[in-house]
Symmetry: C2
Subunit: 425 residues, 2 copies
Amino acid sequence: MEKLRFLTPERVREVRARFGTPAYVYDEASLLRQARAVLAFARPHPLTARYAMKAASNAAILRLFSRLGLGIDASSGFECRRALHAGVPASAISLSSQECPEDLEELLALGIQFNACSPAQIESFARARSGGELGLRFNPGLGTGGTNRTNVGGPASSFGIWHETRETIREQVARLGLRAVRIHSHIGSGGDPTVWQRVAGMTLEIVKSFPEVHTVNLGGGFKIARMADETGTDLGRVGDSVREALEAFTRETGRALHLEIEPGTFLVAGAGALVASVHDAAVTGAGGYRFLKLDAGMTEILRPSLYGARHPIVIVPGEGPDREATGDYVVVGHCCESGDILTPAPGDPERLDPRRLMAAQAGDLCVIEGAGAYCSSMAATNYNSFPRAPEILLRSDGSLVLIRRRQAAEAVYGDEVPADLLPGT
Amino acid sequence: MEKLRFLTPERVREVRARFGTPAYVYDEASLLRQARAVLAFARPHPLTARYAMKAASNAAILRLFSRLGLGIDASSGFECRRALHAGVPASAISLSSQECPEDLEELLALGIQFNACSPAQIESFARARSGGELGLRFNPGLGTGGTNRTNVGGPASSFGIWHETRETIREQVARLGLRAVRIHSHIGSGGDPTVWQRVAGMTLEIVKSFPEVHTVNLGGGFKIARMADETGTDLGRVGDSVREALEAFTRETGRALHLEIEPGTFLVAGAGALVASVHDAAVTGAGGYRFLKLDAGMTEILRPSLYGARHPIVIVPGEGPDREATGDYVVVGHCCESGDILTPAPGDPERLDPRRLMAAQAGDLCVIEGAGAYCSSMAATNYNSFPRAPEILLRSDGSLVLIRRRQAAEAVYGDEVPADLLPGT
């Protein structure tokens, strides 16, 4: 059975008493530890590490990382604005997005760095910043994702400029009077050092076509082990692989490159937990299942429904000590949606996979661990009109600080045009 | 190739010019047509039809249906409040939820009807409304969903009270001094009249254990054909099947039952479209794909990523007439997420399935049809910090009326605790 990572039963009960459930809790000590590990990547090679803020976008997290010296990887113009609003300096923000923002010119004028992800984005950049320096995001033709859906490299991925077109791109950049100074090649969630070395090599091959490039950005996707049977990334070994590739490049070409990486999951996944309440149970006969029903679900954590992702689940008795007894439970969310499950079979959200948990009953708490990345930021928010859950930071001194209020129930439909303006009334 | 359903190229361009993209558009004429078809279900059997409002929850839609005589099926206490706020009378709202709301007593006092979905919910009801009348939602042990994830009946479903426990439940209801007046058995998305008849029969068997029951609610799940190769529900035939089952029950028992149904998809799926812009394209070499990139995606329509659901996709040139030329495209969303695709293989979001579309280029519009149900209400809203898209009603007189404003970019993080209160600063 899984155990609590950074919370204690007492703290879990305190979260419910003070903030209600469901609520996300982030652990400052874990965030600091992961940030320090990332900042040591490929040491002593010169490094800029950027936090992929789409993983969890709360200003408190952005500021914490920014203070430690991490930059920001923004995936949209809106994320740039959000990071600026949080107090991150523009010069620390880098934008690599599928959708080129409408306010690109203004963002560039503020000092935000830009990696063009397509020929059209190079044109947009040239219009916005004549003669400027930009990065180019390439698809190196290979990916490492755990599933096709987390694989953002290779022919089945629309991310970045296809590697075979590099000569055309070089000519386009020159014709527009721009300078390509960074090559970027995020290829997705993986932890295998040999794959990282191979992709680094492919990316460095592209760099050879761009003599003005001084920085290579290998993106992120450093997998972590949420479940006991999963293998996380040995960041030290991956860093060694990448450093060796960079040193070989320098030996071969005489060019020394600055390195950038953009982890999201690695920085925050293990530092977050969703605290929910068990409010009901169901049993479906002899050939059926035992279900636990939570007051949270795909509205707070979509990854199990979307990917069949597994998260550790820990029952905390509503009061009293832990129980000896256990049960095999399918844990389900609160939405009127059969896909709203927390215990899918690995990689297969169509199948239920009962989990051995402490014997549970209504009134207990249920902690979903490994919920720091792509949970608060990527959920079916407001489905069934449930308001968005609050976010709380567990400070290193043990205090709980509210960093996002629970959404007001009326705010769920607050943008609807007022009733007296409605048609046909 | 698919065609526009209720929009025209001119109207699509008008949507962009006036409201920007992405934007949801609902068609009043289609909503009226579907509502009338639903209200004729099983005619001349006495019927209450309730709109499953989780499908699309805008007040304008709720009011339109309410005015036509449809009731509301609410899946959470929050949905009850939202329907009340829209002006729906409490007596027209029925609550069947996985999570029993904290304000149940108040909702019941207002006159909202309640279907208890578990023994614990029966207890909650008894505490809130001593001696009251309630409905009981059963899981009849059979489902009809198209995938396990849209199947809300059978042993793999946590929804409702397991049918084999009906005697225990009958005793519980009697012991608590309550009266069970409705039996409810929503079993999920299907369109086969023989399955509906079978489930109606199973549900009516349960009714036999509850002599005070006067109403049977068979839920919804009437599938529609979004794509040309899909088969929709022949509502007339399903209605005939259900009426025959009810008549047979009356002949056998002498009891006449009122019928309730709760369609969601059937009422709104075909009446909604998502209007997006094509902003970029990508090609991944000889063995690869041609991608079209939209300014919308899983932030507005999650069903393709979640289920491998297919929606018709229609290109509208940014200006000028339709083009003769076509292309095979993978259509992708704007999120930095490889799973953000609009053209998955049927039922398999892991695989890309290029779609034959009108030859497209940046600046064109792209209309995702069949987007009226479970799109605006069940999306990965605000992922990558994209603001929530507006909703527009196409009135029967041809006018476009804004019924939900585009979310302000700052509102995406408006509930975060202000920066000067943040820790460590």
